[in-house]
Amino acid sequence: MASIDDITADIVEDFEVFDNWMDKYEFIIDMSKSLAPMPAEKKQDINLIKGCQSQVWLDVQLDDKGLMLCHADADAIITKGMIALLLKPVQGQKPADVAACTYDFLTTIGLSQHLSPTRANGLLSMVKQIRMYGIAMQATSLP
């Protein structure tokens, strides 16, 4: 399993290819298609992330190795691509590593700065929720 740092370095490299935002968005839209389908019973209000303009669901469980197994979905494709982008480095990682993930790469690829304030807040809510799962689950996971 590649580390969070290695995966984020790959993402940064992916984004370096594009010189305009339309292409970056098309890449984010493609990422939405890579997201594993979320089981219907997980798409409940309790899993909605607060603070997003469109609806985003996130469910995180620990697998039998104590690693994070994340499912997500969104009603808007770009939002779905963004949660896919956020989950890519943390999927299958140890909760403690996810809790420590800074998500600095969002600034490196320019996404944090490019978004309108409302959308940036939505992105921040998603990041917070993912890290909260890491923090909450590091206590219960195996060493």
Partner: protein, 403 residues
């Protein structure tokens, strides 16, 4: 008629956004300002800045004259019977709140307020608050599937209990033009007062408040090529004299002792504190500018462009247009089947195309249409055919990327 060089009078429209020439189609949210309006703001600070109605000195006299000149321009623009029937406010929302606040003194349990399902939140929430505080009942006038006010439902809702009816002249979300005169006559037949939100109407059409017969008419400068932060409330003198003051302070009083005050005459009774002087003066310039272009010319240009927009959008596969009222102003509200409006809006933004996506402060309409929101392109006098062509090709590109 409107000629192509008119757009050159708007400095902001010559810029690029995300590397593309700006295509500004969010005029129902706010219009851009012609250079003469911007110059009027600068001129105020360079030549006139002084508080109005107060100091007995030269500058104060000049700024007061310029300030009051806008009131007189508004009076004639709206064909109000008296200058003192024009109250300056922060904007349409503030104007509606002024009336809703005042009506707390007139309403009690058993009374009814009628509001429209098509209303902007600004003409809904103030009445919800007033109803809650007074015990009055709020009743909702439904809209038809075409996006028109349901007149027979409205007739049925009116009764001797109806004390006030509030609706918009033109819907910001769908562009529907309401038959203000008919709706007002029906309300008056039951003894109810009528407040009209005219924010979307004054930029596009001539309004004659006496002919319409309304009791209150609210509008904002920033939607009619003027500055932000200023608006007005037209009220018939009989009502404005009855209505208690909204805010207390300087300017709105006649005599003040430590324990009580008497209030100033209209319009000052409702204008507490130092007003937004520069904006009032520049609004006057904006009204002059609109009249020079000609309101009839503006209306004709927008009607022609709206038809062209409809024609272009009809060619886009999967496009669902909302609202097909018989009388419609320069708004195109739509979705692309299977796509979220935010996705489409985000991609249009990358192409330099500014549209509004979301609920347009009109959540009850979105609930009625059963959509999370719509994409809204709204036109103005400077909108070109090329802007609508850019929207159509941008939509096709966004659909390709999203499907």
């Amino acid at each position: 008629m409107i000629n192509a060089s008119l757009v050159d009078q708007f400095p902001i429209l010559s810029q690029t956004v995300n590397g593309q020439p700006l295509v500004y189609l969010d005029n129902a949210a706010t219009t851009q300002k012609p250079a003469v309006v911007i110059a009027a703001i600068v001129d105020y600070y360079e030549r006139l800045n002084s508080n109005v109605h107060r100091g007995a000195h030269h500058l104060s006299q000049l700024s007061t004259d310029a300030f009051e000149l806008t009131r007189s321009k508004l009076q004639s623009h709206l064909h109000a019977a008296h200058e003192h029937e024009i109250i300056f406010t922060k904007g349409t929302t503030d104007s509606i709140n002024l009336v809703a606040h005042g009506f707390r003194s007139f309403l009690s349990e058993g009374d009814e307020i009628l509001v429209s399902e098509m209303a902007h939140h600004s003409n809904l929430v103030p009445w919800q608050i007033t109803a809650k505080l007074t015990g009055a009942t709020l009743r909702i006038i439904p809209m038809t599937p075409e996006g028109e006010m349901d007149l027979s439902a409205y007739e049925n809702l009116l009764s001797k209990h109806t004390k006030l009816v509030a609706f918009s002249h033109i819907s910001n979300a769908l562009g529907s033009i309401n038959p203000v005169k008919t709706l007002t006559d029906m309300a008056h037949a039951h003894g109810a007062a009528v407040l009209v939100d005219g924010a979307q109407a004054l930029p596009h059409t001539l309004v004659d408040v006496q002919d319409l017969g309304v009791d209150f008419y609210a509008a904002s400068a920033h939607k009619m090529y003027g500055p932000t932060g200023i608006g007005m409330l037209y009220g018939r003198s009989e009502w404005l004299n009855k209505l208690p003051p909204y805010q207390g302070g300087g300017e709105m009083i006649a005599e003040v002792s430590a324990t009580s005050s008497t209030y100033a005459d209209l319009p000052y009774k409702f204008e507490a504190g130092t007003p937004n002087i520069e904006a009032v003066i520049a609004w006057g310039t904006a009204i002059d500018w609109m009249n020079q272009v000609g309101i009839a010319n503006i209306e004709a240009h927008e009607t022609e462009l709206l038809a062209y927009g409809h024609q272009l959008l009809a060619e886009i596969p999967g496009l669902i247009l909302y609202g097909s009222p018989r009388h419609k102003a320069a708004v195109l509200s739509f979705n692309i089947d299977g796509l979220h409006p935010y996705d489409v809006g985000t991609l249009l933004d990358q192409m330099g195309i500014a549209v509004r996506t979301g609920q347009h402060c009109a959540q009850p309409i979105m609930t009625c249409l059963q959509v999370p929101g719509t994409i809204r392109a709204s036109l103005a006098v400077y909108t070109r055919r090329s802007d609508l062509e850019a929207l159509a090709s941008g939509l096709k590109r966004a659909i390709n990327a999203l499907t």
